[in-house]
């Protein structure tokens, strides 16, 4: 026991007994401090105090031990409760013990009290310690449980995170796998050391025709013919040693679908130490592309060949078809000169000449369209004063219009100085076509109106007529070649090429052409880019009437075509002062030129022995012949040709079929003057 006094709450009404008990305990060596209560109120009040033990009498004048025990048990169940009584019987004592009293001492046997107190204190102490121990155990248990719970929770969280990571990893892996597998290119990975395949995607399997199970763990030597395998492995070595990407273009590989051409890019994949661990390769199957390129090359060759053939056809049409046309037109013109013919015969001949003229127009138009199609149309684009061209066209077509009392008017007021970027001759051709149509497909006594306007950098010309117009259903066919929209049934002559050609020419001149729907008649328009520049147009010499006297002298005609020779013979029969020599080969012609020294040489370019150009060159070089004027009569109407021979020294270039009056005028110009014309 410690030296701290035992604090005792003593319920005792008798002060003597109380003193006795205190003395007794003191005497037994128990240091005690007593607080005595004698009533219920005192007891209750003291019960909250700091005590180690309650000693209680059984019977008090205003209170009793049983009630006190009950109160103490309710309020201070830890405090030992010892009855000290002189009246308490054995039975009651046992009952109280059963109700929780620690002990009981009869006043008659107070000598037991110190032992009973000590034991009660001891038991209380033991109980307290046990309670503390139990509390500690409970606390520890609780703490442990909390820790276990916390740990369990942490583990659950960690597990959940792990599961999430695994799921993410799985998703990521599945995504990468899917990418690799769905890549439309062959992708493969090899071990950098063993060169065995460790991965190949589906495109690779398909391309090579080898299932991946058969590829993985194998090298190129196991899979491909030696020459291909060695080449593949050589580039692998290059990759491993060089540590740099390798690009292999156009290499071949044998597959079940035959030899394929691949373009492969290989890259080393390094490990942590910077050494190649794997070789990654991506191959693009370029077989189809190569085939397509080859096919395209072939197609280009084919197209070139077709173009050459077409050009060739053009030159043939130009020359070959013109030769008989020349004869037809020439002889028809010649026949018209015959003074003995009656009106009916003259009419017949006019039909022949018109037929020839239409043929010529058709051939020219077909050739122009072909030139446009093959990109061989040569244009001389320059600023053109549009109103001059318009008036030229109107002057040309006025006789035709007047023959049917059709009025042609031009509205160019305020725009007479308007210039367009165009080829003057081709613009003239387009307008002759449009205005010609407006006249041809018009009613007698109708009107044709031409309007010129310059606006916003564009030059627009409208050609309107008062004819029957074009049915709306047929306007889509307007610019198609050989499409005459039913006019072929009528009496108006035409080739059906005019508008198609006009469209082609306009487009070639960076212009446009169109049809305008109007309530009455037909209206076409063309549009060109306006030119800010002014350009002096050369005045047209054509159409001027020659008043030159008929020439006299000798003419040498070098020509192999007998009809043409005969035509000229017949023509010159109308020029008695002219003597004609002829030669059917180039060399014969040159010899004749040297011998006869003619006043004029007429030279065909297509000769059986040497090209006419060569004869022209010889004539120009030779001092005996260089001053003789040479006039080229050619059936070749292709552009540029005339320019070349004129540069080579020819005085003039006449295209067959010949306009006989022009030829005669040209001869008169170059021969010595003779008699006056009739």
């Amino acid at each position: 026991m410690s030296s701290t006094p035992v604090r005792i709450l003593h319920l005792e009404d008798d002060p003597l007994d109380a003193e006795l008990i205190a003395a007794l305990l003191e005497a037994d060596g128990l240091a005690c401090r007593f607080d005595r209560a004698t009533t219920r109120a005192e007891f209750l009040s003291a019960l909250d105090g700091d005590y180690d033990l309650i000693l209680s009498d059984y019977s008090l004048p205003t209170f009793d031990g049983v009630t006190a025990q009950q109160l103490a048990r309710e309020r201070r169940p830890d405090l030992p409760f010892v009855f000290v009584s002189g009246t308490m019987g054995e039975e009651v004592a046992i009952e109280r013990l059963n109700e929780g009293a620690t002990d009981y001492v009869l006043k008659q046997r107070l000598e037991r009290l110190p032992r009973a107190v000590r034991r009660a204190l001891q038991e209380a102490q033991t109980r307290l310690e046990r309670a503390r121990a139990e509390a500690e155990v409970r606390r520890l248990n609780t703490e442990l449980e909390a820790r276990v719970e916390e740990r369990t929770r942490q583990l659950a969280t960690a597990n959940a995170e792990l599961a999430l990571r695994e799921a993410e990893l799985e998703t990521s892996k599945a995504f990468l796998d899917s990418l690799v597998e769905n890549l439309p290119l062959m992708l493969f990975v090899k071990d950098a050391q063993t060169r065995q395949y460790v991965r190949i995607n589906r495109a690779g399997e398909t391309l090579l025709g080898i299932p991946r199970e058969q590829m993985l763990g194998r090298t190129d030597l196991d899979l491909f013919p030696p020459e291909i395998a060695e080449e593949l492995m050589r580039t692998d070595t290059e990759l491993v040693l060089g540590h740099v990407p390798v690009s292999i273009r156009d290499h071949v590989i044998a597959t079940p679908r035959g030899t394929r051409f691949l373009h492969t890019e290989k890259r080393p994949i390094m490990d942590a130490s910077g050494r190649p661990a794997f070789l990654l390769g991506i191959s693009l199957d370029i077989t189809e592309r190569r085939q397509a390129e080859e096919a395209a090359g072939q197609a280009r060759l084919e197209a070139d060949r077709a173009n050459r053939a077409k050009s060739h056809f053009l030159s043939r049409m130009s020359h070959d078809f013109r030769t008989p046309l020349n004869a037809i037109m020439g002889f028809a013109q010649l026949l018209e000169l015959d003074e003995e013919l009656n009106d009916e015969q003259l009419d017949n001949i006019s039909h022949i000449r018109k037929g020839g003229s239409h043929l010529l127009q058709l051939v020219d138009e077909v050739l122009d369209i072909s030139r446009i199609e093959t990109g061989q149309l040569s244009l001389s684009m320059e600023p053109v004063r549009v109103c001059d061209v318009l008036r030229g066209v109107v002057d040309l077509l006025r006789p035709l219009a007047e023959s049917r009392q059709i009025t042609v008017s031009v509205d160019d007021a305020g725009h007479v100085d308007c210039h367009a970027v165009a080829d003057a001759q081709r613009l003239h051709q387009v307008l002759v076509n449009l205005v010609g149509n407006a006249v041809k497909y018009n009613y007698d006594r109708g009107e044709v109106r031409l309007t010129l306007r310059c606006l916003d950098g564009k030059v627009r010309i409208r050609v309107s007529d008062t004819g029957p117009g074009i049915p709306a259903a047929k306007k889509d066919l307007l610019f198609r070649p050989f499409e005459r929209l039913g006019a072929e049934q009528g009496s108006v002559e035409g080739t059906g090429l005019g508008l198609a050609l006009a469209k082609g020419l306009m487009e070639a001149m960076n212009g446009t052409i169109g049809f305008e729907e109007v309530p009455r008649g037909a209206t076409f328009w063309i549009e060109l880019v306006e030119s800010p520049e002014m350009s002096e147009q050369p005045s047209e010499a054509a159409g001027t009437v020659s008043t030159r006297p008929h020439g006299r002298g000798t003419v040498l005609y070098i020509e192999d075509n007998r009809s043409n020779v005969r035509l000229l013979e017949r023509l010159l029969a109308h020029r008695p002062g002219v003597t004609l020599f002829t030669a059917v080969t180039g060399m014969e012609g040159f010899a004749s030129a040297v011998r006869e020294c003619p006043g004029v040489i007429l030279l065909d370019l297509h000769l059986p022995d040497v090209p006419g150009e060569e004869i022209l060159e010889r004539l120009a070089r030779d001092s005996r012949t260089r001053d003789i004027p040479v006039i080229i009569l050619s059936a070749d109407a292709t552009s540029g040709h005339a320019e070349r021979v004129l540069k080579a020294g020819a005085r003039a270039y006449l295209t067959k079929p010949l306009v006989l009056s022009s030829l005669l005028a040209m001869l008169d110009e170059h021969l010595a003057p003779g008699e006056d014309p009739d």
Binding site: A306, A309, K310, H312, F313, L314, R316, M317, D320, F321, T323, P324, L325, N326, A327, I328, F331, A332, L334, L335, D338, L341, Q345, N348, I349, H351, I352, G355, G356, H358, L359, L362, V363, V366, I369, S370, E373, P481, F482, T495, G496, L497, S563, R566, L567, R570
Partner: protein
């Protein structure tokens, strides 16, 4: 037409059937009027030779046309 040339197929692209038809029409008109005139004038008339030239030329043109079609 010279034998070594093969313009036909490509030529056809250009010389469409319609154009060929028109060409034939004009040539037959020319041919026809020559026939008429030749039959109407005296066989010994100097014009006969000129008309013959025109007929020959029309035939030559027709031959070129046929050649183009044949290839």
């Amino acid at each position: 037409m010279p034998e070594n040339d093969q313009p036909g197929r490509e030529g056809k692209l250009v010389l469409d059937r319609s154009a060929e038809h028109t060409l034939r029409n004009h040539l037959s008109v020319i041919h026809g009027f020559c026939d008429v005139m030749q039959s109407e004038i005296d066989p010994s008339h100097s014009l006969q030779e000129d008309l013959l030239e025109i007929r020959k030329a029309a035939r030559a043109a027709l031959a070129i046309l046929n050649e183009t079609r044949r290839v």
